[in-house]
C-alpha cells in the first residue's frame, strides 16, 4: 500500500445521513471476484437513471465534483453491510478520504485497511463542510488534523496503529504474521 501523509483536495458533498453500503455499491455489483473497476458503479442507483445515463443533478455528475478526493457526508456514513467493496469503490473512483460526524464501525475499519481515510468531525465542522461544497481542505495524517479554507484546524481521532500503518505503507497482515510465535504459544496454552 502507498504511504499517505497529507491530502489536499476540494470536497464533494452528500448531505444524506445513514448512507449505507448498499447505496455506495449496490449488491448486484458484488459478484466480482477482484477489487478493481468498482468505481464505475459507485452510488450507481443515485448516479445513473434506469437507462444508465448519468443524472445531471447528482453531485458526482456535476463538473465541479470532478477531481475531488474528499467526500463529506451526513451522520452514520457506511452503515449496513460489511462489504469491503464499498471502500474499494470509493477508492477506485478517486476518493482518498471521507468526512462525517459518525462513521460505521466495519466501514471505518475496512476503509483504514485500504488507505481511505475516515475522518470523524464534530457537528459544527460537518455542517460548515456541508454548506460549503467544493471547499479546499487539507488532511494531515501525522498530526491528525483537518484544515478548512477558513484556517480553522480540527483534530480528528484515528487509531494509533492504523495511522502508523498508513503513514508508513505497512500492511497489517505482515504485522500479524510477525506475531506467529505468540499465536502458536496461545494455541498451545488453550
Amino acid at each position: 500500500m502507498e504511504p499517505i501523509k497529507t491530502l489536499h483536495s476540494r470536497t464533494a458533498v452528500l448531505p444524506a445521513t445513514n448512507i449505507d453500503t448498499d447505496q455506495i455499491i449496490p449488491a448486484r455489483f458484488l459478484t466480482t471476484t477482484t477489487r478493481e473497476g468498482l468505481g464505475r458503479n459507485l452510488f450507481a442507483d443515485w448516479r445513473y437513471d434506469a437507462q444508465g445515463t448519468p443524472r445531471p443533478d447528482f453531485v458526482l455528475n456535476r463538473p465541479e465534483a470532478q477531481g475531488c478526493r474528499v467526500l463529506v457526508a451526513g451522520r452514520n456514513l457506511g452503515c449496513g453491510s460489511s462489504r469491503e467493496h464499498a471502500p474499494w469503490a470509493l477508492l477506485d473512483y478517486g476518493f482518498r478520504a471521507v468526512i462525517s460526524t459518525e462513521i460505521a464501525d466495519i466501514f471505518r475499519s475496512n476503509s483504514l485497511k485500504n488507505g481511505l481515510l475516515p475522518v470523524v468531525v464534530d457537528e459544527s465542522t460537518n455542517r460548515w463542510l456541508i454548506e460549503h461544497p467544493g471547499a479546499e481542505v487539507t488532511i494531515d495524517l501525522d498530526s491528525a488534523m483537518l484544515t478548512l479554507p477558513t484556517g480553522a484546524r480540527v483534530q480528528f481521532p484515528i487509531e494509533a496503529f492504523s495511522r502508523y500503518c498508513l503513514l508508513n505503507g505497512i500492511d497489517e497482515l505482515g504485522f500479524l504474521l510477525g506475531r506467529m510465535g505468540e499465536i502458536e504459544a496461545y494455541e498451545r496454552r488453550v
Binding site: 448531505p15 444524506a16 445521513t17 445513514n18 449505507d20 448498499d22 447505496q23 449496490p26 449488491a27 448486484r28 458484488l30 459478484t31 466480482t32 471476484t33 477482484t34 477489487r35 442507483d45 434506469a50 451526513g74 451522520r75 452514520n76 452503515c79 449496513g80 453491510s81 460489511s82 462489504r83 469491503e84 459518525e102 460505521a104 464501525d105 466495519i106 475499519s109 475496512n110 485497511k113 485500504n114 487509531e159 494509533a160 496503529f161 502508523y164 497489517e172 497482515l173 504485522f175 500479524l176 504474521l177 506475531r179 506467529m180 505468540e182 499465536i183 504459544a185 496461545y186 494455541e187 488453550v190
Partner: protein, 470 residues
Amino acid sequence: MPRAPQTMFEKVWDRHLVTAETADTPAVLYVDLHLIHEVTSPQAFAVLRERGLPVRRTDLTLATMDHSTPTRTEQVFGGAPISIDSAAKQVRELETNCAAFGVELLGLRSAQRGIVHIIGPESGITQPGKTIVCGDSHTSTHGAVGALAFGIGTTEVGHVLATQCLLQRQARTFSINVSGRLRAGVTAKDLILAIIGKIGVGGGTGHVIEYRGETIRALDMDERMTVCNMSIEAGARAGMIAPDETTYAYLSGRQRAPKGADWEHALERWKQLPSDAGARFDKEIDIDATTLEPMITYGTNPGMVIPISGAIPVKKGDVVFEKALAYMGLEAGAAIKDQLVNVVFLGSCTNARLSDLRSAANLLRGHKVAKGVQMLVVPGSQQVKKEAEAEGLHTVFIEAGAEWRESGCSMCLGMNGDLVPKGQYSVSTSNRNFEGRQGVGARTLLASPLTAAACAVRGRVTDPRELMNG
C-alpha cells in the same frame, strides 16, 4: 484480591487474547471459527496466493454459498445453469479456492448448505464462548448462544485465513434489559425493530450489545437469533445473549456440537460465561415488552419503524426524511395499515428458521395469498427446508399460492436475480429496507413472519392479530 465483576463480552474477549492491546497496537484476538461465503472471500484467497500462504487452520474454517446462489430447484439440482454469469463464476471460484486450500465446503448441492448464519447454530458449530467471524455483518446472529460473533471485511478475512487472528480494539459494552411478556402476535422481530427504533441505526456504534432480562430468557433459540441478527442494524457489531438451559438443550446432540465427556467439559466452561452480578456496562437501557405491538418499517433504514396501528411521523423540513418517504411513495402522517402490498418475502438469516416458517404457515392455513401478490418462501437452509417439508409446511405455502424455493439469501439482497420489481411494495422478513436493497426502486417494509403472512392474505398491510386463530 477478588477479580472485578466482568461482563460476558469481557470474559470471552480476555480468553481470546493472543496479545493484549496497548496505546500503540490493537489486541491480537484469536478466532475459534471462521465462516466463509462466496461474495467476500475471493479477494482474500487471492492475497494468500500472491503471498504463497496456506490457510492456517482449515479445521476452524467452514465455507458455504448463499448470497449469489439460485433458489430454483432446477438450477440447484437440475442441469439448468445459474442465470447470472458473474454469480456462477463466484460459485465456481469458491469451489476452486476451497479445494485448493483444503477448506471444508458445504457446496451448492450439500444437504447441509444454507445461509451461513443459519447453518452455524443449526449444525452446532456455533457454540457459547467462541469467537466467530465471517465476512458478513449479520455474523452478530451467532451471539444468540453466547458467542462473540461479528462481521469483518475481506482484508480481515485474509488475515484470519492466514493467521487465525485479527487486530482489534476492545469495544464498549451496552446492556439492553428487556422485561415483561410479549403479547400474542408480537414476536422477537417486533422486539428488535422496536429496539432499533428507540436507539437509532447508529445507537450501538462502537458497542457490543448484551440483551438481558426476563423477556430475553423466555425467548427460544430461533427468536434469540432474530434479535442478535439485527444488532448490526443498530450499528453494533455484535449482540450477545447469555447461554442458559434453553441454549444447552438446543445445542445438545447437534452434529458438530461436543459429545460425551467433551460435552460435559464444555458445559462447565459455558456456565462460567454469563456476566457477573455487578458487572458494569458502558451504556444501559431498559425496554418494557408488555406495551409492544407488531412493528413495521415505513422508510429506508430499519430505524424508520412504527407500530402497525400507527401513523408515519411528520418531520417538516427534514430533507433526508422527506427523501426517504418520496422513495417509498408514502405520505407523512398517513396510517401504514391497508397500504398496498405487491410482494411478500419470507426468508433471510433474520427469519427463515423452522419456527418462523411455522408461525407464517399457521396463519396462512386455510387462506389464500391475495390476488396479484407474489409470495416467496425461501427456507434458511436445506435442513430447515427438509424439516418444514416433513411437517407439511410446504403444502400450506404452495396451496395458499406462495412459491417454495431452495435455501439462500435470495430476495433479501437480490444478488441471485430474485428481485422485487421497481416501485413495488414488498413486505419482507429480512433485515434491511435500504433503497434498492431488494432490487432497483424496490420499496421494502420490514416485518415479522406473522405480519408478512397476514399482509400476503389481505394484499394490504395487516395486523396479524386480525387473522390469528384462537
